[in-house]
């Protein structure tokens, strides 16, 4: 059961006129996974999801969702998946419970017990008589998730689920996703936040319609990045010392990429480079350094490395 493939795409492509929104994307998702689909706005994430939901016909390639073909069996797909869109489709004038009753009705779910169960799960029991329009963004997100799961879907598509909320609300939203996944649901989540993608078991990186890589966050960092990541704090306080330090860093033979990051510099070097080598090269250029430390690469480092490799 756990190894059953719930999404399989082969060379999935969508063109709008001359514009290729999704370009030969192939991947698969097994039951019980939480897969992130990471990329900037306009990289083809939502277009992919719309094809997988059977809302948009592909221009090429194929895909099966829960074993159904996206071209011919889109109705079965829509009955069996849950979808939470970027702009939640909630009725502001209806209460929390009425919104759930409405969506339940669409899918033929009429048991009060299921509604109670969902309200309980999303943590809105005390607010079930509040109008959706009166809820905070965080609560609206939970309600939107509730409307997407009321018919007990096996597969959930979440499109940019946590935009504009604070880290606390985001964390509790993700706790909810993990609770669902522990109960046997598979989730595919699109996001443009690098830090949100860290919550996913596997992450696909989209850019300009192409899937550049898909793997666990740790494997992406190990494999897609050509070496080590470093944080370098200049000796002098404030941002004034950063620019000369950056110029010096860019000239170091062992530096693959250097950039500014707030009050410090970040550099990528080949594996095996040691802190004292960087230190020596910088001090030869007349740059004082307070601290050099090897740090965990981020998904942003990975993204930049992949984007640089494959060009624009």
């Amino acid at each position: 059961m756990m190894n059953e493939e719930v999404i399989v795409t082969r060379d999935l492509t969508k063109r709008f006129g001359d514009f290729t929104a999704v370009n030969a994307v192939s991947f698969s998702v097994r039951a019980g996974e939480v897969v992130g689909y990471l990329g900037p706005n306009g990289s083809g994430k939502t277009t992919t999801i719309r094809m997988l939901l059977g809302l948009l016909l592909p221009s090429g390639g194929s895909a099966q969702v829960l074993g159904y073909d996206i071209r011919r069996q889109s109705e079965q797909i829509r009955l069996n998946v849950g979808y939470m869109s970027q702009k939640f489709a909630l009725y502001n004038e209806l209460t929390v419970r009425e919104n759930l009753t409405f969506y339940g009705g669409v899918y033929g779910v009429r048991e009060n017990r299921r509604l109670d169960e969902v309200i309980d799960l999303i943590g809105l029991s005390s607010l079930q008589r509040a109008r959706a329009g009166e809820l905070s963004t965080g609560w609206r997100q939970r309600l939107a998730l509730g409307t997407a799961i009321v018919h007990r879907p096996k597969l959930l598509f979440l499109d940019e689920p946590t935009s504009g909320v604070d880290p606390m609300a985001r964390r509790s939203f993700w706790d909810l996703i993990y609770t669902l996944v522990a109960g046997g649901v598979t989730a595919m989540v699109t996001t443009h936040y690098m830090d949100e993608a860290e919550y996913c078991g596997r992450v696909g990186i989209m850019r300009n319609g192409s899937l550049l890589a898909m793997d666990t966050p740790s494997a992406l960092k190990e494999n897609a990045l050509p070496g080590y990541a470093w944080d370098i704090l200049p000796g002098e306080e404030g941002s004034f010392s950063l620019l000369p330090a950056l110029a010096a860093l860019e000239k170091c033979p062992c530096v693959l990429r250097a950039g500014l990051s707030g009050d410090h510099l970040r550099a990528i070097t080949p594996a095996g480079v040691e802190a004292h080598e960087l230190q020596t090269q910088l001090s030869q250029a007349g740059i004082q350094v307070a601290r050099i430390e090897q740090v965990e690469p981020t998904l942003e480092d990975v993204f930049l490395a992949l984007a640089g490799e494959k060009g624009d």
């Binding site: 963004t137 609300a169 964390r171 666990t216 950039g259 500014l260 942003e300």
Partner: protein, 322 residues
Amino acid sequence: MELLIEVRNLHRSFGELRAVDGVSFQVAPGEIYGLVGPDGAGKTTTMRLMCGAIFPDKASGGEKSLIRIAGYDMTRQTEEGRAHIGYLPQRFSLYEDLTVMENLRFFAEVRGLSQSEWKPRCMEILEFVGLARFIQMRAGNLSGGMKQKLGLAAALVHQPRVLLLDEPTTGVDPVTRQDFWQLIIRLAGQRAGEGIAVFVSTPYMDEASRCTRVGFMRAGRVILEGKPSDLRNRLAGQILELRGSPIQLLRRVVERDEYVETALMFGDRLHLRVRQGKDQEVIARLERQIPAEGGEINLLRHIPPQLEDIFIALLDEGSPQG
């Protein structure tokens, strides 16, 4: 030290809602200050007060309220102060049918630059943001990243000393975002001239972590302020990463531990925040407990705290009911 932004004891209510409730902060030339908080924390109201778009409530008793931009009192010298502010809103508008140069000329003239001034200034600023080659291109044909840079150029055309940015890089390509932040840091880091101060408002920690100083805002107040590296040090030694299987069992075991303050699932791993000074004790206990219950640890180690950990820890302190 010269201050370009000076805000003290700022209050502003809308009816019953105390949108800004006693906010103070200061920003010097060369600094990039990030005001970070969720939607509804009062960030936008603070920015509107700084621009002189709205005025603060009279402070009742206690410290006097004050908003100074480049030395001008924004409640009395609003126009003079505004002349020193460059503002890049979240959704900025460009004239899609005009070329890059025509757009910039328009903003330059609105800002009162004369015939002889605007052209060299526009060329200089387009050079800086990397759009000099595209001056004849219509704004509507630019990529998202280039539009962003043109928006920045428009905000900088009158050489402001204070640059206000509202969620400047939400949803843009990381490559563009990287470019954009390099420009901002370059601007702030220029020693030449009089130096400028950058003020960023954002709910996102990854934007916050690029600032030289950060203020966390919540419910109308700035609850903590500091350099990202200093803030991260507050939780040094308290954040652990745990990998192993089965992950649900791991989670149950850590959530039972009295010294684990929060446990967060991250795909294939857990992040724990443990009580200060109890990390070794927790590590030893988990290393015993997890195998005893049939689980397996692949990795258990300290990891550096992130700004997000600090923010969450703060919120936990502030809400005793959990």
